[in-house]
């Protein structure tokens, strides 16, 4: 380590120790990555961005290396990423891809597998891989480490958790819900519109309704297609279990959410919880900082989290919505290596701890078992880590984006009462089957549900 870097690292560590009440940070292990050329990261302005921005500042202070962040709203991310990888030279050295988009980029051959940049690169064993969505097996066209190449890693592993107002639950003598029935019962006690909605989830057309219905579908034992990992794309979304799941989803929304449940998006849901107008709601873990920031929230210290439940007596079904840091093939070699150097640093225990303290959602399991988890500020960690055994990836195949569009529309039509649950699922099943057949997949259909 050069003298200049040593001074920089020591200054940064001191500054961070001063900013943080936890003395452990100063001694935490950070990687020495040496002097690297500047890199640019395409990153979304999601609720967890604040934590990531702080960790990048710490990296710059410690290493003297420059990182430029192109902060983009979710809606513009995909097109910027596409344009970058299709250009002769990518303006970005790390792209942040939503789990739904990864297949297009893996399959299109736009990315450099990380071991092709540095043959010795490997993820630390503690890093969560969210059902291997960061590996790509080109032959099987499936995301798996079994025969797959390491394509990236998650800077954020979003999963759903159930947020609830611990003060209201305590006052009403209620326990944190463990089933949909518990949610309905607590909603019945706490629902007093328009000042207080008993429970909220998203019904907005598109990704919102599809993503929020998934825990209902998975925990009911239903699926969208039979066994895509084994090449069996028989469409199963119109099963009786899926119908029950959709009916429960719609019923809870109609009984407990605002009447505009059919257009309720993530921003609206967070707003309802943060302004104290919802007693409980299902949202991704990334929403947590919004409830603890006194400039944005009227319920600081009053929100707790628990694992999203399922039907009484059944296992929960959590859906993963993780992000992926990947390196474009068209980025110059020296910047690819710099991107990897940043990654190596970012995934260290010290950086992940600092990331959590800055408001980010870490991706190392040892951060969740550290002393942080017992601190009130990090009371969300238990629900998050307890959710992991039940978490699974959905739509991890090339047609995923189109399937999401189909489901996003038909589920929304059921939510607003335009069509019945059975009709919505029958329509979706027929459309998904037609799409998969056109793509040459081995597919089929269940018998239609009675409408």
């Amino acid at each position: 380590m050069t003298l200049r870097r040593s001074i920089l690292a020591a200054t940064a560590a001191c500054m961070f120790a001063w900013m943080s009440p936890h003395e452990a940070i100063a001694q935490a292990a950070f990687a020495d990555v040496g002097k690297q050329p500047p890199i640019t990261i395409l990153i979304n302005s999601s609720p967890w961005f604040g934590g990531f921005e702080k960790i990048v500042q710490l990296y710059e202070q410690q290493t003297g290396n420059k990182v430029t962040l192109d902060v983009t709203p979710f809606g513009g991310m995909l097109e910027k990423a596409r344009n970058a990888v299709r250009a002769r030279q990518s303006p970005y050295d790390i792209l942040n891809l939503d789990t739904q988009w990864t297949i297009e980029f893996y399959e299109g051959g736009f990315l450099s597998p990380l071991v092709e940049i540095d043959a010795n690169f490997a993820l630390p064993a503690e890093v969560l891989t969210f059902q291997d969505s960061n590996f790509w097996n080109a032959e099987r066209r499936w995301r798996t480490r079994d025969g797959g190449k390491l394509m990236g890693y998650s800077p954020n592993g979003n999963v759903h958790v159930l947020y609830y107002r611990s003060d209201l639950f305590e006052k009403a003598g209620l326990q944190p819900p463990k089933s949909w029935e518990d949610i309905a019962a607590s909603c019945a006690k706490l629902h007093a519109p328009p000042g207080m909605y008993g429970y909220v989830h998203r019904g907005e057309r598109g990704n919102a309704v599809r993503f929020d219905w998934m825990p209902f579908m998975i925990s009911a034992g239903a699926s969208i297609v039979k066994s895509p990992e084994n090449g069996d794309f028989t469409v199963t979304v119109n099963s009786p279990e899926a119908k029950r799941a959709l009916e429960t989803f719609v019923d809870l929304g109609r009984r407990c959410a605002p009447p505009n449940f059919g257009v309720l998006g993530q921003g609206d849901l967070i707003q309802l919880l943060a302004t104290g107008r919802a007693a409980q709601g299902m949202a991704v873990i990334a929403a947590w900082p919004s409830f603890e920031d006194p400039t944005k929230s009227a319920v600081v210290g009053k929100i707790s989290t628990t694992v999203v439940p399922g039907p009484a007596g059944a296992k929960p079904g959590i859906v993963i919505g993780n992000w992926h840091f990947v390196v474009p093939k068209s980025s110059p070699d020296d910047r690819k290596r710099a991107a990897l150097a940043f990654s190596r640093w970012f995934l260290t225990a010290g950086a992940q701890r600092a990331y959590a303290e800055g408001g980010g959602i870490p991706v190392r399991s040892d951060t969740f078992t550290s002393d942080l988890a017992s601190q009130p500020k990090f009371r969300w960690m238990k629900a998050y880590i307890d959710s992991q055994p039940f978490a699974r990836q959905e739509l991890g195949f090339a047609e995923g984006a189109q399937v999401e569009q189909i489901l996003g529309l038909r589920l929304n039509q059921a939510v607003i009462g335009e069509i019945s649950a059975a009709r919505a699922l029958n329509l979706a099943a027929a459309e998904i089957e037609a799409l998969l057949r056109q793509s040459g997949r081995r597919t089929g259909l269940l018998a239609p549900l009675a409408e």
Binding site: L78, V85, E104, R205, P259, V263, A401, Q405, N412, V415
Partner: protein
């Protein structure tokens, strides 16, 4: 002497003809840069859509691979149920919003033109909405329509009624979107018609008044016929604009709930960008362009006939 004069006349004629030919030739060649730029920026991208529209495009090893699949794309177009809803919604959106904008714009122009004072001030205030970016308008109206916190529902509740689900009710959502378009674009119609009203011949209006025409008769028999060209231009421009409406609808409802506010522009965006179906997206784009041109031409013909 006469022979010399005739020869001189002939020379002058030849020289004039040569000058005229050079002039025409010069004008002809002067057009080419313009045609070239127009071709490069408009026609070339448009023509590029044609091979895309009959292909399926996938990316392998970072390169695009095209396969010729016109039947597949056409079949997708025919079977696209969301497109059918989108076309119907777009037609309703264009007809209703343009009709309201024309009526409001006309009467606003007439009213402000008749103001004895403060006309420049009123005109400036009227055109403010056009100056606001569509993104800001979408966000502003989304807040106004918000079920729990919105201004509109606060007024409705103060008046003793229950909150209205403006954007979430499938029967109201398209109307709510039309209202925003009317708010945004009526000033555009106003601006065109106000300029036209200001330039109407005063003697004709004076003659109508002396002949004893009532206000309604003056409007109906004198002003409206004189404004016909300006009305046609305003209607045409607004119809084109309404066909292309995207940004504020995307921000307000993103096409929902269900397909209640799905417009062709939103559907095209979904297919092309969200689903990454480049071939079918191109076919959809060509279809939308063709539909727009046919509708606009039909409208123009109908206007010309009337």
């Amino acid at each position: 002497m006469r022979a010399v004069a005739a020869r001189d006349d002939g020379e002058i004629d030849a020289s004039a003809r040569l000058g005229a030919r050079l002039d025409a030739s010069f004008r002809f060649w002067c057009l080419w840069p313009c045609i070239g730029i127009l071709g490069a920026l408009t026609l070339y991208p448009l023509l590029q859509l044609v091979p895309m529209a009959v292909s399926t495009i996938v990316f392998v090893s970072g390169e695009s691979v095209w396969s010729f699949t016109p039947r597949r794309n056409f079949q997708l177009l025919i079977e696209d149920r969301v497109l059918q809803a989108a076309i119907l919604n777009t037609l309703v959106f264009v007809v209703v919003s343009v009709a309201i904008e024309m009526v409001l714009g006309f009467f606003a122009a007439l009213f402000i033109a008749c103001l004895p004072r403060a006309r420049p001030f009123a005109r400036t205030v009227m055109i403010l909405p056009i100056l606001i970016p569509a993104v800001a308008i979408g966000s502003m109206w989304k807040l106004i329509y918000n079920y729990d916190f919105g201004l509109l529902n606060q007024i409705v509740q103060l008046a003793g009624f229950g909150a209205v689900n403006w954007l979430g009710d499938k029967h109201l959502a398209l109307l709510a979107v039309v209202v925003v378009d009317v708010w945004h674009w009526t000033p555009f119609v106003f601006l065109i018609l106000f300029a036209a009203i200001e330039s109407l011949p005063r003697d004709v209006l004076e003659a109508a008044r002396i002949d004893g025409a009532s206000a309604w008769q003056t409007i109906h028999r004198v002003i409206l016929p004189l404004l016909a060209p300006a009305l046609a231009v305003a209607a045409l421009f607004r119809a084109i604009g309404a066909f292309k409406a995207f940004d504020q609808v995307y921000l307000l409802t993103a096409g929902g709930p269900g397909t209640a506010t799905e417009l062709v522009s939103l559907h095209l965006n979904r297919v092309f960008f969200e689903q990454n179906q480049l071939g079918y997206g191109a076919m959809l784009a060509l279809t939308v362009i063709a539909l727009t041109v046919v509708t606009i031409l039909s409208g123009r013909r109908a206007l010309a006939r009337s």
